[in-house]
Amino acid sequence: MKLGHLGISAMAALVATVTATATLAQNKGLENPRSTSFHETLEGKKVVFLPLSMGFDLTEGWAARMRAQADRLNYDFQIRDPAWSTDAGTRALQSLIGEAPDLIVAHNPDIQSYARLLAQAQAKGIKVVQINLESNTQTDSYVGADWTEIGKQAAEAVVERCGEGKGSSNKVAIDTGVPTAASDVFQLDGIYKVLDQHPEIEVVSQQATEYNPEKARSIMETVLQQHPDLCGAIGIWDNQDTGTASAIEQAGKGDQVFLVTSGGGNRVGCENVENGMFDLYISYNVPLQGDILNAEIARLLLSETKAGENKALYFNPLTQITKDNVNQRNCWTLDEIR
């Protein structure tokens, strides 16, 4: 009965359509059912971003991108800002598990602190994307830089400059951030993979700055006095390395010490390349990461699979910025990507 009714309506519709098409001879296109379901599925979903802290280029950049997509696709996007406190972060994550949003975007302070909680979240059916800093737990997706690769590139650049037969000393300093963060753990691995092949390179200092430029400045100041003939320095993050760079500038060794750092490609970082404070700036391009992140969010929200069932990861491309190629295309400001 119902089927018959349906059949009749379908017939009627078909006839009507054909007639209409024929008579008006005007193409209005086909409705794409996938577009409708895409929008309908995403609408009303809840995504929560748990950064290390808001207020610096990376997290503000990602958040701007994610918010733009959330506004476009009508899902709920929230930020829980623990303001650099690992403790507040774990508390926020714990309460998120109780709250059960559809997806958490986690930015790990180190590879261990959130690991257990992220696994718990997935067990409760919350999908988890980790951004740029991984934890020990592999989750539904990871988007971000390949730190090992950054480490290799940085080390190669330094070797290029301070290696054997370059007429300078072979002394290199490494400024790390937080020794348990993914960026440090994996980047150091990358650095030493290269340096181990160049035994002439002497690492004279390797100290943690806790992402704090003032601390980085003091450390570099100290190192420069201990080793006035320092040749190269590898910093782990542009924000902290402004401190490193200014210590070098202050000592008047801007030309002597080759400083490599990495970061999100913010305009501020680029300015530092322009004015010669950074010699090489490996950018992992925050707007690009934000876009990939958005794609992953949409994919996971649409996907039928359970949280933790499939694990994906994507290392985004890196850009080496030097004085020669600093331009608008490589750098971004927060206002531009909003």
Binding site: T86, T90, Q94, S95, I111, P179
Partner: protein, 704 residues
Amino acid sequence: MAAKDELLALRYRLIPDRLLGELLTKSWIDNVIPALALAVTVIIMTILIPGYLSAGNMADLGRQVSEMGLIALAMTVVILSGGIDLSVGSMFALCVLTALTCMNVAGLPIGVSLAATLAAGLLCGLLNGVLIGYLRLRAFITTLVTLVIFRALYDIIFPRLASAIVGSFPTSALWDLIGFGDFFGVPVSFLIFAVIAIVLHIGLSRLRPGWRLRAVGGARRSAYNAGINVKFTVCMAYVVSGLLTATAAFLFSARLGSTGADTGVGLEITVLTAVVLGGVSLGGGRGSVGNAIIGTVLVLILSNSLIRLSMPGSVNQLILGLVLVAAVLFDRKWIKNRSKILSKVYVSPTYLPLRDRPDPGDDDYLAVNDKLGGVELIGLGAVEGPEDVILDRDGNLYTGTRHGNIVRFFGPDFKRHEVFARIGGHPLGLAFSPDGDLLTCVGGMGVYRVTPQGVVEKVTDETNRSLLSIIDDSRLRLPDDLDIAPDGRVFFSEATIRYDMSEWAVDALEGRGNGRLICYNPHTGTTRTVLRNLIFPNGITMCRDGQSLLFAETWACRISRYWFDGPSKGRVEIFMDNLPGYPDNINRGSNGAYWVALLGMRTKTFDLAMRKPAFRRRMAKRIASDEWMFPNINRGCVLQVSEAGELMDSYWDKAGENHPSITSTCEHRGWLYLGGVSNNRIGRVRIENSVPDWTIHQDYWGER
């Protein structure tokens, strides 16, 4: 007019004005504001955040409270001792590192790890304790330095162990149980915290070490002079702080299994905020476990909720800062003004109508005479404040003094005297038991017994607590007079539960039934309140039927009879009403009569004032207490009253030189002995028409 008075009476009966003042006297009032703030915060968050009160959320909160709460307790202990411990954050980090190194790196059993963690905390705390307690360094700067040192140690060791800690998981069921486990939804770590908190609360509030700690924090010099080992006590405060912090670190390690470079950074400030918010006063002596917990929960709820409401971290910081300022500001103003407010609002007068009274000069019996003009003075200058006087079988005279002694004058001439017993408080009413013990009501202490040998024993100092009173009325504040029933029960009056001995006269301004009649039963050893809401019950004496007693209500100017036994048990009946003055003690006399001492005579102005409670309230609020209007207690007299309550005679001191104010009488072998609470003498005067060898003993207990 009458209707207006009725309304006034009703208003004062129904509206309990006195409660505000009484609330302010309670020590827990300090905790009420933080607790209210907590309640308001919870309510706001429940409205703002859906599902806020869910079990899961509460369990999360419980876990967090247990870690931060322990550190808040550590801080509280130190602040109570008059110090401050800024090194808790760094100490916490070191202890976490110890715990994780033991568990993750060395793979030690959990018990050993716990011991090692506690040892680390103990060492850190001991360092602070020795420096501040024994070397007398300043707490603030010292813990600031140890903060730097502990943090530096952590920064040196942590990077070397970081990858080893991160790289392995311990496999211990107990470890996981502490970290994630729960009993019926209550996290294990919270249970551990609760046990520690309860133990600490008992230790701080009920045991000697806690009292010493508060004494040292509250008044260091006095504590030192009182013989408390100040150095040791201060040192132990820091050691306890170290141990509590280590326990918190252990729980934290079990929960997260990891530590970061920023573990414990800034923790001291969060905890300090929590503790101050909860109402622990910086500067020592004031604060409790409850304060610390309230503050911790408040800070955690605030910061968690702000994160949860997607507030930027900076707003979080802004709000916490504002809250801290508000809390400290409030604390300061509260401490400064609480006693001021209290003194303004505590006196709470009520409506008390007294009928007009004809001029005593027109009365045959009451007309002023000079029968006391020629009293013999006993012990002039040797006694101060002989409120009650009594004679024993051998004719020796006893009285209490303001100095806290009972003085005995040897008969028959009473020239010689000695301190019979040292009580410690001002003995008021006196009565002899059949076996010769002297029972006395001691202001501010209770009822005491003195044996003929002069040994002092406590009879009772508490009664049953009434359910709804805010003031703790189980303790006796102002027991006034007592008498002993034939079966040995002791009935005594407590004049007021709202004022102490030193300010008893202020009770007159209230005119409310603040007093009560209490019975101590020696057979069961229990003390029970038998009549409440009496208006300054004062003198008590047994009637000769052995089933009833007379009691005077001073400000109400009346004497009532109360049956405590027999067929009309429980009945209260007016015996004499509308007396011309304020009755004090009542005593038996010869010929079946009673002696009533009038403390002072009524005046028309004060009678009017008693009908105008608002006037008295204004007076108490606006002018200094030495300018308040008080009832006349400068000039009284003694009345002789018959068994039926009829006036038989009166004794006045016309010139007002020897005994203008009388609070008690005692008849003995034809003499009347007179005491007065503000006198420096005892008087005696011959009584006309008395039974020459009548003694009070005989009348009560018969011949020996």
